[in-house]
Symmetry: none
Subunit: 229 residues, 2 copies
DNA sequence: CGTTTTTGTGACAAATATTTGACAGCGACG
DNA sequence: CGTCGCTGTCAAATATTTGTCACAAAAACG
């Protein structure tokens, strides 16, 4: 989970390499591909936090990749930044309507792209920007590694902390055990799905308080969610 | 839910009026001001869902407004779209670093701005961007796995949930038991047709409410349909 | 009205899913 | 080295859902 992951879909090898280097320097994990179909595979496999998508790529076209990412439930909420050629305003609008969150026309300065990416990251994963995240009566301070409920400090184990953090970054949404495993343990862990249940239990036990309702909702046959209210 | 509210901070009366008109047509509530200080007052008073902020305005400057909006806890998380003059890339970058979420250089097409606004809205308040399905007094939020009727949360078993979801995606249409089995249980299930009846009953029981009519219509010798009550 | 067809209902056992307590392995740390 | 906290797995205990029945109720039909 920890470093935010980008998926960069870019044709031009020089640009791709430059951007990859710059983003890694910013502390992002970066996957790169030049091919639309491969992009979809990668996205499905290791759900990224953000996709940077060139409009003109090999294989499946940019707009199609965008559409499919949106259609797949697992990636439906991943922000997408499109890169288009200067002057292709119609492409841009179609892209935004298809579900992209932002776009940039080439040529652009890497600095500008980075600024945009972090603007989006701040919104998507505020905890990474050192901000306090609030959900219901819970408060999470990522930099201080501290959780508070109704003013009371809560102490959680590392895994429970990451789990709660992930939930708090997506309040209300239901995640399957598999998704939680990917997000909290990492994509390449071969851990039993049931283990998630156990950690959910530990999380619940950790944050339970006299007279306070359990904010972790079990959605039978689907997964778990952190109650938005 | 009430319509999303925009705060438009724009100097140019003609542009302001045009945008206000367009956004109202899109279903947004719009407050307009040309003055930076007034913008801050308005924002504090009726916290908007999004701010569109011209860089060059009277009173407090755009960047200062941006900074202060971010500093005030109540408005710290409200997305901001900046409008800057063409070529002021540095302004733009400073803006994004100050906490703006997006920017547009003038001149821009209203359509483009609208596309961006709804892209952001989709991200911020997914509930407003059509992720909610509404039929009559029923509301279904697929990502939260939640059904609401007249504001009351309804709890349904997995199958009933899928059944209702399917109905809500095709409101008014009549489906035979066989079609429902295919759609909700899967094409390769060898389940008694009558089982559908039982689940329809469970669905009805789940969503029934004091003084509310039953939206599930039985069509004798044909099947069932969900009506918009 | 009696008969036939179709749908609504309550009950229930089997199947599924989740919760919980226990436990052994591991690594950090004194 | 011993202790302690954290992890991942299990399996038993619970809880919930599911598909079917049998029968009641309702509707269609002659």
């Amino acid at each position: 989970m920890n470093p935010p992951r980008l998926l960069l879909v870019e044709d031009d090898p020089a640009l791709a390499e430059l951007l990859e280097f710059r983003f890694r320097a910013e502390g992002y994990g970066v996957s790169v591909t030049s091919d639309g179909d491969e992009a979809l595979l990668l996205a499905a496999e290791e759900i990224p936090d953000l996709v940077i998508l060139d409009w003109m790529i090999e294989g499946t076209s940019g707009i199609e990749v965008c559409r499919r990412l949106r259609r797949d439930k697992a990636t439906a909420h991943v922000p997408i930044i499109m890169l288009t050629a200067r002057g292709a305003e119609d492409d841009m609008i179609r892209g935004l309507e298809t579900g992209a969150d932002d776009y940039l026309t080439k040529p652009f300065s890497p600095r500008e792209l980075i600024a945009r990416v972090s603007a989006i990251m701040r919104r998507i994963r505020p905890a990474l920007a050192g901000e306090l995240v609030n959900v219901g009566d819970l408060t999470l301070d990522a930099t201080a590694h501290r959780v508070t409920r109704r003013g009371q400090v809560i102490s959680l184990g590392p895994t429970e902390f990451r789990l709660l953090k992930f939930f708090m970054e997506h309040p209300g949404r239901v995640f399957s055990r598999g998704q939680l495993l990917d997000a909290v343990w990492g994509t390449d862990s071969d851990i039993e799905l049931r283990t998630v249940d156990v950690h959910i239990r530990r999380l619940r036990k950790g944050i339970e308080q006299e007279g306070a309702p359990d904010p972790v909702r079990t959605v039978r046959s689907a997964g778990y969610a952190l109650e938005a209210v």
